[in-house]
């Protein structure tokens, strides 16, 4: 980059939602051909800022310059015209449409209003060839892989002539290997002269691809730094505003007898296909068993079968020695199961109901909360107050609706409810999704505490860091099967990544050994292939690379 050229300049951007300032005087400069990371915790204001840039929101005050010219971006259409395109975190794709239809929508190829499907598919093919983004133009979105869906989403912006691409948390749904591919694509795009804004809270991704990084905290831009000269630890501290440790403090586990025993379990998903294929699994008292895997490899169906939400096709599930196969959710809960569901809004809480009612959502029919079918509101309130205090749930009152709480406090309320029943097995599915670092630390601590109290914990997460840090053992799911069970302290991110992509344990070990040798001989060039999993070590490796 000889002469830097500012393609985006956002000056003093403020966005208010009522009393709340989501963005408070934020400044952001993006130069041509760079990958500029936007780092911040969940809720820091990154998405708001990018929604402003892509025309979905209008700022309360502040100015935006695109290619040096002052711009008023009041619609997505306008953003398109200015060459700004967004690759959304939740893909903005119509499932029932083909790839080509999705890419062309709004700028369709047509003859007098009649769709020219063949022409459109050819154009998409040409475009995908040009950028090396392989897609099948005539395939329906609902039938293709998440990776291809993302490529379609990227092509959508390129088709509209975007020069500035915003990637909103693009890696959440990808395997480590797919992430590497995406990183390559991003680099290739900048080589073509495109500029990229990468929204993320993952430090290693920033270290891998970004040139510069702007850190946002509580709606304010803290600093813009050169990524090469900044360590992961420094980035993390800037993001959170205090010194953070990524390691979860925990003593070695002391596993005892099995609490959950699954044998030959097969589960079908709603369309009748086998989602869980003949698996065996055991979770012992006093251990956290993590389930790693890409979204959609049978994890959700496995949990639904254990909790009684879906009927098992065949096989047996035993909880605390009792056969619970085919039991209804209530019986399973009563046998000793706590469940922190994946989607807290849809499955964890009844948002318009009072917090106290949510706190007793599974126990309202039991004593002392009711007697002979009549509720005892006093006891319900008393119980809710106790949990609110014990678990530090921040709320105006126990009579506030669950909807009025922040995401972190909603999750705390669910955890309070589930742990308070003292279940033999606690299932935590994506328990920290969308939460800030403070809440994440708290929840991890509670899960470990549960383990230390001699209970069993089953943790399902798509975040590898989380699975590796909290679990004692890790079961990797791929295509409905458990491909390997490894010890958390003996595995690596890369090994898990290969396992998650369906590579067998044996092969994965071989491949990694080969890479290590290569990396050793070729110097530090292969940072991406490195096997270290400790946050600090990774940071130092990356630092070495800069020299």
């Amino acid at each position: 980059m000889a002469q830097t050229e500012r393609v985006i300049e956002m000056k003093g951007i403020t966005k208010r939602f009522g009393e709340f300032k989501a963005n408070d005087n934020i400044n952001l400069n993006v130069e041509k051909g760079e990958i500029h990371a936007l780092l911040g915790e969940n809720g820091a204001g990154k998405s708001t800022l990018m929604n402003i840039l892509s025309g979905l929101l209008e700022p309360t005050s502040g100015e935006i310059y695109v290619n040096g010219k002052k711009a008023k971006i009041d619609s997505p259409e306008k953003a398109n015209q200015l060459g700004i395109g967004m690759v959304h975190q939740h893909f903005m794709l119509v499932d029932k449409f083909t790839v080509a239809e999705n890419i062309m929508l709004g700028k369709e190829k047509h003859n007098y209003g009649f769709m020219d499907d063949e022409g459109a598919e050819k154009d998409v093919k040409d475009l995908s060839d040009r950028y090396g983004l392989t897609v099948d133009p005539s395939a329906r979105i609902e039938d293709i892989s998440v990776g291809m869906q993302q490529r379609a989403e990227i092509l959508k912006t390129l088709f509209r002539g975007a020069d500035i691409l915003i990637f909103d948390e693009p890696t959440g749904v990808l395997t480590p290997q797919e992430i590497d591919e995406l990183m390559d694509i991003m680099k290739k795009l900048t080589d073509e002269g495109k500029s990229i804004i990468l929204i993320t809270h993952k430090l290693d991704e920033i270290k891998k691809v970004a040139d510069r990084c702007t850190v946002i905290r509580r709606g304010q831009s803290i600093d813009t730094v050169n990524v090469k000269n900044t360590s992961q630890q420094e980035l993390a501290d800037m993001m959170v505003g205090r010194s953070v440790s990524f390691k979860v403090d925990k003593i070695a586990s002391v596993p005892q007898g099995p609490v959950l025993e699954i044998k030959n379990l097969t589960v079908k998903e709603s369309r009748g296909l086998e989602a869980v294929k003949n698996i065996d699994l055991e979770v012992k008292a006093g251990e956290v068993l993590g389930i790693a895997g890409i979204d959609g490899n049978g994890q959700s169906e496995l949990i639904q079968a254990i909790t009684g939400l879906t009927k098992a096709e065949s096989g047996t599930i035993k909880l605390d020695g009792k056969d619970i196969t085919g039991e209804k959710p209530r019986e399973v809960t009563e046998t000793g199961l706590g469940h922190i569901p994946e989607d807290r809004h849809r499955h964890g809480l009844v948002l318009p109901m009072k917090l106290e009612e949510n706190m007793t959502l599974q126990q309202y029919y039991q004593k002392p909360f009711s007697k002979n079918g009549l509720l005892n509101h006093g006891k319900i309130k008393e119980f809710a107050k106790k949990l609110i205090e014990e678990f530090d749930v921040r709320t105006q009152s126990e009579e506030s609706t669950a909807a009025s709480l922040s995401g972190g406090n909603q999750q705390k309320a669910i955890i309070a409810r589930e742990i308070s029943r003292n279940p033999a097995l606690l299932i935590a599915a994506q328990p920290t999704r969308g939460l800030d670092v403070g809440a994440i630390e708290y929840i991890h601590k509670r899960l470990i505490e549960q383990r230390d109290n001699g209970k069993a914990v089953l943790l399902m997460s798509y975040e590898l860091d989380e699975v590796m840090n909290v679990s004692d053992r890790i079961a990797v799911m791929y295509d409905g099967k458990i491909v390997a069970i490894v010890r958390a302290d003996e595995t690596s991110e890369n090994e898990l990544g290969l396992l998650m992509a369906g590579v067998s344990l044996e092969k994965a070990k071989k491949e990694l050994a080969g890479k290590d040798i290569k990396a050793g001989t070729a110097g530090a060039a292969g940072a991406a292939g490195n096997a270290e999993n400790d946050g600090k070590e990774r940071a130092t490796v990356a630092n070495d690379e800069t020299e």
Partner: protein, 357 residues
């Protein structure tokens, strides 16, 4: 606490403003067609309130509306749209009259109990069909209840003509199946007001008790607000769908019994579905699902219904005007987003002014 009181107040504002806007809309329409709206509304209100007889009639109408309104409301709370209230009321009416005609000589208390009981069961079964199909097959309860409405209509007319009599009107039920209360009739100068009023007040109380104080009511509310989370928490969505539809239909059937035994004392062929069923939907929506609110909405609509009868003669306005006003009121209740928006704007302007002081 202050905030909940305030929000309660603004919750009350929406139905009140909706009623006002509904009447204003009706007035504009009348002006458009050259009628005098003041004459029309005056005829409606004076017609009712100047005569104890018509006050009694309005309350009688309101009584039945309370049942149909509560019936719609409980299904609505559970997340279902029971448009079949009219049909359920009709089968309740048929059942009550059929039983009352079959055992005319049973003691009053027993005859009334079994007649009303039969009506409740009939209404519950009729709605239960839709609930069961929804629970087990995911079939849209909206369309099923509507189809069952027309089925009920045709079957009713068939039963009257081919089973109960050979004509279009059944015999009157015996004294023992009458709901009339002597002193109430005298007080209202011979109106058809009846003990349904007391049953309605009791049912309003029971409805409140059920929804707020029982575990079953807790479940119905939870399932209605979030069926997924309720299922995760171990409740049976299916059971609650069916239960709420059974209660819903049972209440409509009860309304049918009160209408049949109390208002008419017989059954006659119908050319269309009873409007009491559809107006029950309006009553429930206006009452915002609150049992006391439903009771008061019923009285308003009872007055509208009965008062409408005075408009053609005294103001020359067709009595369908009342139904148009009712529809307009519900339009504004449904589109309350706008009312809220305006109220919020006014409120924020006020606080801004205060802040400026």
């Amino acid at each position: 606490m202050l905030t909940t009181k305030q929000s309660r107040l603004s919750a009350l504002l929406i139905p009140i403003l909706s009623v006002l806007l509904g009447f204003i809309f009706g007035a504009l329409l009348m002006l458009l067609f050259g009628y005098n709206p003041i004459d029309a509304y005056q005829a409606m209100l004076m017609g009712v309130f100047n005569s104890p007889y018509f006050i009694g009639e309005a309350i009688r109408q309101a009584t039945v509306l309370t049942f149909t309104g509560l019936g719609f409301a409980i299904a609505f709370k559970a997340g279902f749209f029971n448009i079949g209230i009219a049909g359920q009321l009709l089968v309740g009416w048929v059942a009550a009259i059929w039983v009352a005609l079959s055992f005319p000589d049973l003691p009053r208390i027993i005859l009334l109990t079994i007649s009303i009981g039969a009506a409740i069961v009939a209404g519950a079964v009729w709605a239960g069909i839709a609930g069961t199909l929804r629970a087990y097959f995911g079939t849209s309860e909206v369309i099923v209840t509507i189809m069952l409405n027309y089925t009920a209509l045709h079957l009713t007319n068939y039963i009257i003509r081919s089973v109960l009599t050979t004509g279009n009107t059944t015999d009157m039920v015996s004294e023992n199946a009458s709901l009339s209360v002597g002193w109430l009739t005298t007080l209202t100068q011979g109106s058809r007001i009846n003990m349904g009023l007391f049953i309605a007040i009791i049912v309003v109380f029971l409805y409140w008790l059920f929804m707020t104080q029982t575990t079953a009511g807790f479940e119905v509310r939870a399932v209605g607000l979030n069926p997924d989370a309720s299922t995760y928490a171990g409740m049976s969505a299916k059971r609650n769908i069916i239960l709420s539809m059974l209660i819903s239909g049972g209440l409509a059937g009860l309304g049918g019994a009160i209408h049949g035994l109390g208002t008419f004392g017989n059954l006659f062929t119908q050319s269309g579905l009873p409007s009491l069923g559809f107006n029950g939907i309006a009553v429930a929506l206006l009452g915002l699902g609150n049992p006391v609110g439903i009771f008061f909405s019923s009285i308003l609509f009872g007055v509208l219904d009965v008062g409408a009868g005075f408009m053609p003669n005294r103001a020359g306005v067709p009595d369908e005007m009342a139904d148009i006003v009712i529809a307009a009121i519900i339009f504004f209740v449904g589109a309350n987003y706008v009312i809220r928006l305006v109220l919020d704007k006014m409120k924020s302007n006020k606080t801004a002014e205060k802040g400026g002081e």
